[in-house]
Symmetry: C2
Subunit: 293 residues, 2 copies
């Protein structure tokens, strides 16, 4: 059942991305190749799947065209990975089991490919198949969740500035909440908005998304310690090498896993009023903390 949800979600997302990102036959060929190199590198499509399942839960069935919203979220996630991997930032050679964008296409094109994925995401969002007032709300939500104030870029900045500095728990939580949980929460919330969720439903979706977003990042940090680069498809042990404060480094692995489990419990509570319709999102949440890569 969960396996089907994941497979179907990945397939729907990949088809939409294939349709929405220009091909190498369109000029300028090089930038479209670079965008596609990073987008089609076998990502898990977690944000699109969470988004689509939130929409399905609110609407009762999968709303037409919601995969375009999902694919825009994946473009934004991929742009952040391309820029994070640049030599001036994390300087990483491996991502999703492939050489990183700048290793293949050079730094200039990697910077522009990241920029272009962000730009293209907003073009797709502006054309979504839902009423204009829902579209502007979705755009606002996503721009805020990926911005500097409690959003993805803000978290990335504090993360960079905290290397070799052993931040305290409030700083660590700020980084996790902003860098990872904000876009995951925005994915769930905008899926709901696409499906016409009420304000009350939006607020419950936000609470769910924030909890699983934090849990997701804690598990990511645990896997960074316990798994190999081969298992992860990206460089393992990076946090320890960069002397980053993480949940495992502050509290050990067992306590970290317990914290992630508790967050999933809180996420379940947030979805109570959706009743049995919430089953798929709940099993996705469990999958996110039990995954091994």
């Amino acid at each position: 059942m969960l396996k089907e949800t994941l497979q179907q979600g990945q397939q729907l997302t990949d088809l939409a991305l294939e349709r929405l990102i220009p091909t190498a036959t369109e000029r300028p060929s090089s930038i479209h190749k670079a965008m596609r190199h990073s987008v089609f590198a076998g990502g898990k499509r977690i944000r699109p799947i969470l988004c689509m399942e939130a929409a399905r839960m609110v609407a009762g069935s999968l709303p037409t065209g919601v995969e375009d919203l999902g694919s825009a979220l994946e473009m934004l996630h991929t742009y952040s990975l391309i820029h994070d991997d640049l030599p001036a930032l994390d300087n990483d050679d491996l991502r999703r089991g492939r050489p990183t964008c700048h290793k293949v296409f050079g730094e200039a094109l990697a910077i522009l490919a990241g920029d272009a994925l962000q730009t293209r995401a907003y073009e797709v969002l502006a054309r979504l198949n839902c009423p204009p007032d829902a579209r502007v709300r979705i755009i606002e939500e996503i721009a805020h969740g990926t911005g500097t104030i409690d959003g993805m870029i803000g978290g990335q900045v504090v993360d960079l500035e905290s290397e070799h500095a052993k931040p305290d728990l409030p700083t660590l939580e700020y980084i996790h909440r902003s860098k990872t949980a904000a876009l995951i929460a925005a994915s769930v919330v905008t899926g709901g908005l696409y499906a016409g969720a009420s304000e009350e439903q939006v607020s419950k979706l936000r609470s769910f998304g924030q909890s699983i977003g934090l849990a997701f990042q804690i598990v990511d940090d645990v896997l960074d310690v316990t798994q190999t680069s081969e298992q992860l498809g990206k460089t393992a042990g990076k946090d320890t090498a960069a002397e980053k404060a993480t949940y495992p480094s502050l509290f050990g692995i067992d306590v970290s896993i317990k914290k992630a489990d508790a967050l999933v419990g809180a996420a379940f509570v947030a979805l109570e009023s959706f009743g049995s319709r919430a089953e798929t999102l709940k099993s996705l949440a469990k999958f996110l903390v039990e995954r091994k890569s």
Copy 2:
């Protein structure tokens, strides 16, 4: 009269940017400082002014809140400058008479500051004070004009790939049309959309914007040859050093200036149906080709 338009436009834009870009008192301080360093470096605010004057022409008076649209355009222009100046791209130390963003804040923060200005621009656009259907149209127009297909990033890619390669005239025109004219045209078109322009008016504004956008870039290339770095506030003679094909390098300075003048003539024709209301936009167009920096 023109001087007043420019001063008033710059002032309105700067006040909106001041209000819309987070200050250094907001966390994370460093990224907001980096964004502001590049945004408040004394730019001419040409795109916002063209946008606002197009809106004024269509509506008959300046529509409330159009300066927020103008400031989003300036954020997008500034993000492109920050990334263009990076060592992996044009590797430039001087912009708008100041050290470039990465010279002051380092490459990592400059990449993220560019990203954040793009993100913030879309958040501002999603909240504009015009009906949601106009807002999504404006966002689509701007995302397209700054994207890879005949837009800003596309032009930048072909420009980079044409260095030391002496491109032919069609390639040169593709670069100018995409890299510069597309965002200038989008500025004029979205100003019109904000003011409720008809499809016919939008198409005339687009034609005007494309002509003056091309003229603007030709004059930019002429100034790169004829002016000093001090006069320009950015490094002069860059095109010659990079062996870039430009109008002046292909046709000489006199023919280039004549071409720019002819484009301004075409731009005037596009505005004919607006009658005397078009006077300010026309004088702006003349100013753009007669400027010395």
